[in-house]
C-alpha cells in the first residue's frame, strides 16, 4: 500500500468537492487531495450541458461544464491535488483507502469531506411490471449517452417523473429530433423547477400528465409502448381509465439517492429522511473530522447552493485539521409544521449567519417561513409560492445558547 498524508481529503471532484477544496486551501490547509473515480473533474456537471447554472453564484447563466470549469481552474491555481481515476473504498479511523491504476493507497488525513453526490432511482426500485426490453433508461444515463458518447437513445419517448432531469431530457431529446409523447408524474404537482416546466415542456408542446403513472411497459426486444393510468388520492392506478401510448423509449426520472456506501464504512450516522449524513452547522457529520456537502448530504436543486454549502464544509475541515475548529454545544433543529426536513440537523451555539436549508411538505401559496427558539423568532420570510421541488432557506443571524430551533412553513 502506498502511504500518503494530507490535511484535508475530499472524496469527489464534482461541484461540491471542488468548492470544498478551494475553501480548504483558502482557510490555510497545506495539502488538499481530491479523489475522483472519473478521469476528469466536474462530476455530473460534465454531462449537464444545459443552461441555468450560476445565476445566483456568478450572476450569469452558465451551462454545467462552464460552471464546473470555473472551479476546476480555481482549484488548480490554489494548488489542490487531484487523484483521478481513483476510487475511495474504505475509511479506517483517519485513513482513507483508495484504489487506482497505480495500486492501493492509504491516505492519512487531518479532516475529510464527503462529496460523492448521488445516484438515480431505477426501474427495479420502482417495480414496474412488464418484460425487459431495450429502451428503458434512467434520465441521467440517457443524458450521458447522448451528451458524452453522441448516441441516439430513442425516437418516441415517454418520461416517468417530472423531476428536473426528466424535463431537461425531454427538451434534449426533442432537439435531437425525437418525439416526446408525455411526461407522466405520480403526484398532483411538478417535482422539479417551474422554469424547467416552461422551457422544457411548454416550449415543445409536451403534455405533463399529473397524478398519473405507468402501469406496464410492453415490448420484447425493444420497448413498444406503455400503459398509463390516472391515480386516485392513495396513488393507486384507476385501471378502467388506463390508456396506451406507443413509444420505443422510456426515461425514468423518479428520484435521486445520495450515494453513501462510503459514509457507512466511515461509521457516519445517516438521516432516514434525506438519506444523507446528519450534520451540524459546520457541515460536520456526527463523526468528528468528517464533513459532508452537496448531493451526498441532501439532494439539491441549484448547484449555486451546493457551492456555498461546500465552501463551509471545506473551510471547517481545514480548521479542524489545524486544530482550530472550536466546537461549542449544539442545538437540535426541528422540522415542524409544513417542513419535510431541515439541513443541517443541528446548529452550533454562537455561530453566526447560519443558513438552514429545507423543503416544504406540499405545494403552498403565499407562505410564511419561520425559525424560532424558546419562543423567540430568529428568522422570518414570506414567499409567494412554496414547492417541495424548490429548496428554501432561512438565515439565522446567531445560534442561541440553548433550546431547540423550530422551523415552520405556514400557508397564509
Amino acid at each position: 500500500m502506498k502511504q500518503q498524508n494530507c490535511d484535508v481529503l475530499i472524496v469527489g471532484a464534482g461541484p461540491a468537492g471542488l468548492s470544498a477544496a478551494c475553501a480548504a486551501k483558502d482557510a490555510g490547509a497545506s495539502r488538499v487531495i481530491v479523489l475522483e473515480r472519473d478521469k476528469r473533474p466536474g462530476g455530473i456537471l460534465q454531462q449537464c450541458i444545459h443552461p441555468g447554472f450560476g445565476l445566483k453564484y456568478f450572476g450569469e447563466e452558465l451551462t454545467g461544464p462552464e460552471y464546473a470549469e470555473r472551479f476546476i481552474v480555481q482549484a488548480k491555481e490554489k494548488g489542490v491535488e487531484f487523484m483521478m481515476g481513483t476510487m475511495a473504498i474504505d475509511f479506517r479511523e483517519n485513513v482513507c483507502v483508495a484504489v487506482n491504476g497505480d495500486g492501493v493507497h492509504a491516505i492519512t488525513f487531518g479532516a475529510a469531506v464527503l462529496a460523492m453526490g448521488c445516484r438515480e432511482r431505477t426501474r427495479a426500485n420502482l417495480v414496474i411490471p412488464g418484460s425487459r426490453p431495450a429502451g428503458i433508461y434512467t434520465a441521467g444515463s440517457a443524458q450521458r449517452l447522448i451528451n458524452i458518447y453522441g448516441r441516439n437513445v430513442g425516437k418516441k419517448v415517454v418520461i416517468l417523473g417530472s423531476g428536473d432531469i426528466g424535463m431537461i431530457m425531454a427538451r434534449r431529446m426533442s432537439l435531437e429530433g425525437a418525439k416526446v409523447e408525455a411526461v407522466v408524474e405520480l403526484m398532483p404537482y411538478l417535482a422539479g423547477l417551474t422554469r424547467n416546466r416552461v422551457q422544457c415542456l411548454d416550449d415543445f408542446g409536451i403534455p405533463l400528465l399529473l397524478s398519473h403513472t405507468i402501469t406496464e411497459i410492453r415490448g420484447v426486444d425493444r420497448v413498444e409502448g406503455v400503459t398509463v393510468a390516472p391515480v386516485d388520492e392513495n396513488k393507486c392506478p384507476i385501471a378502467d381509465q388506463a390508456f396506451d401510448i406507443e413509444c420505443d423509449t422510456v426515461l425514468l426520472s423518479v428520484g435521486l439517492i445520495p450515494e453513501n456506501e462510503l459514509s457507512k464504512k466511515a461509521g457516519v450516522a445517516l438521516s432516514g429522511i434525506t438519506k444523507g449524513a446528519n450534520v451540524d452547522s459546520f457541515m460536520q457529520t456526527e463523526t468528528p473530522g468528517i464533513f459532508a456537502c452537496g448531493n451526498v448530504l441532501h439532494v439539491n436543486d441549484l448547484v449555486d447552493n451546493v457551492s456555498r454549502e461546500s465552501e463551509l464544509a471545506g473551510r471547517n475541515a481545514a480548521l479542524y485539521a489545524a486544530g482550530k475548529l472550536e466546537m461549542k454545544d449544539t442545538l437540535k433543529v426541528v422540522a415542524s409544521d409544513g417542513i419535510r426536513y431541515v439541513c443541517p440537523q443541528t446548529a452550533r451555539c454562537g455561530q453566526k449567519d447560519v443558513k438552514l436549508f429545507f423543503r416544504v411538505t406540499a405545494p403552498m401559496g403565499v407562505t410564511e417561513l419561520t425559525a424560532t427558539c424558546n419562543g423567540v423568532q430568529l428568522a422570518r420570510r414570506k414567499i409567494q409560492r412554496g414547492n417541495p421541488g424548490e429548496m428554501e432557506f432561512l438565515l439565522i443571524p446567531e445560534v442561541p445558547a440553548a433550546g431547540e430551533i423550530i422551523v415552520t412553513a405556514t400557508e397564509k
Binding site: 450541458i49 443552461p51 461544464p65 458524452i148 435531437e176 422551457q199 414567499i383 409560492r385
Partner: protein
C-alpha cells in the same frame, strides 16, 4: 391575442397574462414585480432561448463537445440552428469560449464551446 406566460425570472413563477397583436402590447396583468413586465414583453413579442447541445469531437477522450449559444436565439429558429450544429465536427484541443459556429444562421449569435478539452493522451 392573449398569451398566458409563466415568468421564470425568480422562483415565484407569476402567471402573467399578456394581450396584444404582433409587437403591440395592450395589457400585462399578473406580474408580481417590474422584472415580470420585461420578461412577459420579450416572451410575447419574440421568445428567445439559450441553445445548448453537443458537437462531434475528434481527437479527445470524449466523443462530444458541449456547445452553447453565447446569447439567446429566437426560439422559432432553434431547430434550424440544430441542423447546422449537427453537421459540424470539431477537433481537440478546444478552450471554453472558442467559437464553434460563428454568427449562426446570420442571427448575430455565436455557438461557443462550453468546455476546455485537451487532445487525447495529454
Amino acid at each position: 391575442m392573449t398569451k398566458e406566460i409563466i415568468c421564470t425570472v425568480c422562483p415565484t413563477g407569476c402567471r402573467i397574462t399578456v394581450e396584444g397583436e404582433g409587437t403591440q402590447i395592450t395589457s400585462i396583468t399578473g406580474n408580481g414585480c417590474k422584472r415580470g413586465i420585461r420578461y412577459a414583453t420579450d416572451e410575447f413579442i419574440l421568445p428567445k432561448r439559450i441553445l445548448t447541445c453537443s458537437v462531434k469531437l475528434e481527437g479527445a477522450d470524449r466523443g462530444m463537445l458541449p456547445v452553447r449559444s453565447a446569447h439567446p436565439v429566437p426560439f422559432d429558429k432553434v431547430f434550424d440552428c440544430m441542423k447546422v450544429i449537427k453537421a459540424t465536427t470539431v477537433s481537440a484541443p478546444v478552450a471554453v469560449g472558442d467559437v464553434i459556429v460563428g454568427d449562426i444562421l446570420g442571427l448575430g449569435v455565436d455557438m461557443v464551446s462550453a468546455m476546455s478539452i485537451e487532445k487525447a493522451g495529454e
